[in-house]
C-alpha cells in the first residue's frame, strides 16, 4: 500500500529502476530510526530511498544480517507492554501522574484499534484533531494509533505504543521498551535506539498536526520512555529529550527527498534488482548484485553492525580495501584524507610521501610512530 503514492518525476523513476521488479519494502520506525544512525552513507540513502529490501539483498549476497529481533525478545516485549497497559493502563497512569503531573481527572482512554484496520489511520487523525482543537472530553490516552510519514515519496505507516495527551498542554509519545533500567542506569545504546525510534513518532505526529492546521510544537520533544526497573518487572517512566535525534532525522529525510545529486553520479543502467522468480526467491547472480552495490559509496562504521542489514557486506568490502573506516568513526575522522590503513602505515614509517593536504596528518603519524618505537625499544 505504501508503494502507491510514489512520485512520477525523474528521481522517482530512477529509484524505481534501481529497485527493478522487486516489490518495495515498507519502512517501519526501526528502519527510519536507523537512517539517523549513519547519515553519511550514500549506499544506505539510495537503498532506503528506493525502498529496497536490504535484508533480502544481504541474504542473497551471502552476508545475512546478524539481527532481526529474536522471538524471545518479541514475546518479552509484548508481555511487558501488556503489563503496562493492563487494567485500563493503571501502571501507565501512575507513571504519567508522577512524571508529567497528570491531573487525577485525566484518565480517558481511547483504543484506536476499535475501528477496523483500514479505518485506523483516519480514526487516529480524527481523534488527534479533536484533541488538538481542545474539544471537551477529547481524552488522554490513545492506544494503538496509526501515524504516517512521507519517506522519499512513499508513505510509511507507523505505530507508536501510546500517545498521551495532557489537558491544556501537549502530546507526548510514550515508548514502551523491555530493557531494564538498573539503579537509574540503562544500556546507553538501547536508550539511544529507543530515542531515535521515538523521534520518528514525534516527527510523524508533528507532520499530522501541521497537516490538520494545528501548531506542530504541541507535540513535546520530551518522550516518555517506560522500562522495567531493576530486576523486577515493575515499570518505571523517564522523560527523554529527543531534540537532537529529531534534528538528525529531519536532515536525513530532506536528504532522502533530494537524492538527485546521488543519482546523477550513478550510471544510467545501474539497478539493485533481485529479479525474484515465480517463487519470490532472487534469481540475479549474487556477484552481479555485489558489483552494482559497490558502485555506490558506503560509509561503514562498526556501529552499522547494530543498525543496517547490509553491515556484513560493507564490512567485508571495507576489510578488502583495508579502509580506515573499520577502526571506528573517531579514528576515521582523525585520519581525515587518509583512506586506507596501508596508506596510514606508509605515511607513519616514511616509506610513503604525503600527498598535497596530507602533510599535517603525515607529521602526526610520524610523531606517533616515533613515540611508539621509543616505548617499545
Amino acid at each position: 500500500m505504501s508503494g502507491l503514492k510514489r512520485s512520477t518525476s525523474g528521481p522517482g523513476e530512477r529509484l524505481a529502476a534501481l529497485r527493478g521488479t522487486t516489490p518495495q519494502s515498507p519502512h517501519d520506525a526501526r528502519a527510519i530510526a536507523a537512517l539517523a544512525a549513519n547519515p553519511g552513507c550514500a549506499r544506505r540513502a539510495l537503498l532506503d530511498g528506493a525502498g529496497i529490501d536490504k535484508d533480502a539483498a544481504a541474504r542473497h549476497l551471502g552476508f545475512p544480517a546478524p539481527f532481526g529481533q529474536s522471538p524471545f525478545a518479541i514475546t518479552r516485549g509484548n508481555a511487558f507492554e501488556s503489563l503496562v497497559k493492563a487494567d485500563g493502563c493503571a501502571e501507565l497512569l501512575r507513571m504519567l501522574r508522577e512524571v508529567l503531573g497528570l491531573p487525577i481527572a485525566e484518565v480517558a482512554y481511547h483504543d484506536v484499534e476499535n475501528v477496523g484496520a483500514h479505518l485506523r489511520h483516519a480514526h487516529t487523525r480524527a481523534l488527534i484533531d479533536r484533541a488538538a482543537a481542545g474539544a471537551p472530553g477529547a481524552g488522554t490516552l490513545y492506544d494503538h494509533p496509526l501515524l504516517s510519514l512521507e519517506i522519499a515519496g512513499s508513505t510509511a505507516y507507523l505505530e507508536p505504543d501510546v500517545v498521551a495527551f495532557q489537558l491544556g498542554g501537549r502530546f507526548h509519545i510514550v515508548e514502551i521498551k523491555s530493557f531494564a533500567v538498573i539503579d537509574g542506569q540503562a544500556d546507553p545504546s538501547a536508550v539511544a535506539a529507543a530515542a531515535r525510534q521515538a523521534a520518528v513518532y514525534v516527527l510523524a505526529l508533528r507532520a499530522l498536526l501541521e497537516e490538520l492546521g494545528h501548531d506542530p510544537l504541541k507535540v513535546s520533544h520530551d518522550v516518555v520512555l517506560v522500562c522495567p526497573e531493576n530486576f523486577a518487572n515493575r515499570p518505571v517512566a523517564t522523560l527523554v529529550d529527543v531534540r537532537r535525534q529529531l534534528a538528525v532525522l529531519r536532515r536525513q529525510l530532506t536528504r532522502m527527498t533530494a537524492l538527485d545529486r546521488l543519482l546523477d553520479d550513478l550510471p544510467e543502467d545501474l539497478t539493485f534488482d533481485l529479479a525474484p522468480g515465480e517463487d519470490g526467491l532472487p534469481t540475479r547472480p549474487p556477484a552481479e548484485l555485489a558489483d552494482a552495490l559497490r558502485r555506490t559509496d558506503a560509509r561503514y562504521a562498526p556501529d552499522c553492525l547494530s543498525a543496517c542489514d547490509l553491515c556484513f557486506f560493507c564490512r567485508d568490502e571495507a576489510r578488502q580495501e583495508g579502509a580506515s573506516d573499520l577502526l571506528g568513526r573517531q579514528v576515521r575522522d582523525e585520519l581525515g584524507g587518509v583512506a586506507s590503513v596501508e596508506e596510514a602505515l606508509g605515511l607513519a614509517d616514511g616509506t610513503r610521501h604525503p600527498a598535497e593536504g596530507q602533510e599535517e596528518i603525515a607529521r602526526l603519524l610520524r610523531n606517533a610512530e616515533r613515540l611508539r618505537k621509543e616505548c617499545l625499544a
Partner: protein, 265 residues
C-alpha cells in the same frame, strides 16, 4: 455441575447422529473415531451423574469446578468488566482457582456459539464488553446478568472499572483476613499491585497493603470520574439497546455492516 451434564448430553446426542450419518455414508473410519468419542463422552457422563448426589452438601473440590464457573465466580466478585489476567488472579486468590489465562482465550467464542444454537439456554453467559462502536472490546469479559450500562466501555470506563475491581478485591480481602489467622499471600500480593496504582493507596512497597485504605483511596478517585462515566455509559447502553439484536448485545457487533444488517431485519 448441571451445566456440564447438559453439555455432555448435547454432545452425546450430536455424536450419535454423527455416527449414524457416517454409517449411512459407509465411512467406517470416521465412524470408528466418532464411536470412540461417544464412548468417552458417555463414560464422562456416567462419572458425573454418580458424583452429583455427593456434591452439593459439602463445598465442591476446586478441580471439579469448570473453567466457566470459576470465571463466573471471579467476575461476580469483581462486578466490573475485567481482563483474563485479573480474573485468573482473583480466582486464584479467593476461590483456590486452577484456571490459566490461556484457558480463557476461546471462552467467549464458545459461549457465543452456545447462545446462537439455543438462546438463553443457560442461566448466565460469559460475554463481551461493548466499545463505543458497539463492537466487542478486546480482552474483556463480562456477565450477561449485568445491566448493559455496566457492560459498555466509554472513554473513562477502563479506569472506573479498575477502581471498582480494586474496591471489590479490597473488600473481599478484608473479609477473608477477618476469617483467617494469616492473610492469604496471593490476595495480599494482588492487592499490593492494585494499591500501588491508586493515588494514596499505599505508602511504599514494604508494608502489606491495608484493604480499608485501598478501598477508601479508590472510592475517592472513583468519585472524580463517576458522573461523567455514568453519563457516557448510559448513552452507549441506550444506543446498544436500540441498535443491536440479542446476540450482538451480548457478544458485540462484528462490524458496522453487521449493525446495518441488524437494523434492516
Amino acid at each position: 455441575m448441571s451445566d456440564r451434564l447438559d453439555d455432555l448430553e448435547r454432545r452425546i446426542d450430536e455424536l450419535r447422529s454423527a455416527v449414524r450419518r457416517a454409517m449411512r455414508a459407509r465411512d467406517t473410519g470416521t465412524a470408528r473415531v466418532l464411536r470412540a468419542e461417544l464412548r468417552h463422552a458417555e463414560r464422562a457422563w456416567d462419572a458425573l451423574v454418580s458424583t452429583v448426589p455427593a456434591g452439593p452438601p459439602e463445598p465442591p473440590a476446586p478441580r471439579l469446578v469448570t473453567v466457566r464457573e470459576q470465571v463466573h465466580q471471579a467476575l461476580h466478585l469483581l462486578s466490573a468488566p475485567a481482563q483474563p489476567r485479573l480474573i485468573v488472579a482473583v480466582s486464584g486468590a479467593f476461590f483456590g482457582g486452577t484456571i490459566r489465562s490461556a484457558q480463557l482465550t476461546s471462552l467467549r467464542r464458545d459461549e457465543a456459539r452456545s447462545f446462537r444454537s439455543s438462546p438463553y439456554g443457560r442461566p448466565y453467559y460469559l460475554c463481551a464488553a461493548l466499545t463505543d462502536r458497539l463492537s466487542p472490546a478486546r480482552g474483556l469479559l463480562t456477565l450477561s446478568a449485568w445491566p448493559l450500562e455496566r457492560r459498555v466501555i466509554g472513554p473513562l470506563s477502563p479506569r472506573v472499572d479498575f477502581l471498582t475491581c480494586a474496591i471489590a478485591i479490597a473488600t473481599a480481602a478484608a473479609t477473608a483476613a477477618a476469617g483467617a489467622a494469616a492473610p492469604d499471600e496471593r490476595a495480599t500480593r494482588l492487592l499490593a499491585g492494585l494499591a500501588r496504582n491508586i493515588p494514596g493507596g499505599a505508602d511504599g512497597d514494604v508494608a502489606p497493603p491495608d484493604p480499608e485504605r485501598v478501598a477508601a483511596a479508590a472510592r475517592a478517585e472513583l468519585a472524580v470520574h463517576a458522573e461523567r462515566d455514568t453519563r457516557d455509559r448510559a448513552e452507549l447502553a441506550q444506543r446498544a439497546t436500540s441498535q443491536l439484536g440479542d446476540v450482538a448485545r451480548l457478544f458485540g457487533a462484528a462490524t458496522l455492516s453487521t449493525i446495518v444488517k441488524e437494523e434492516a431485519r
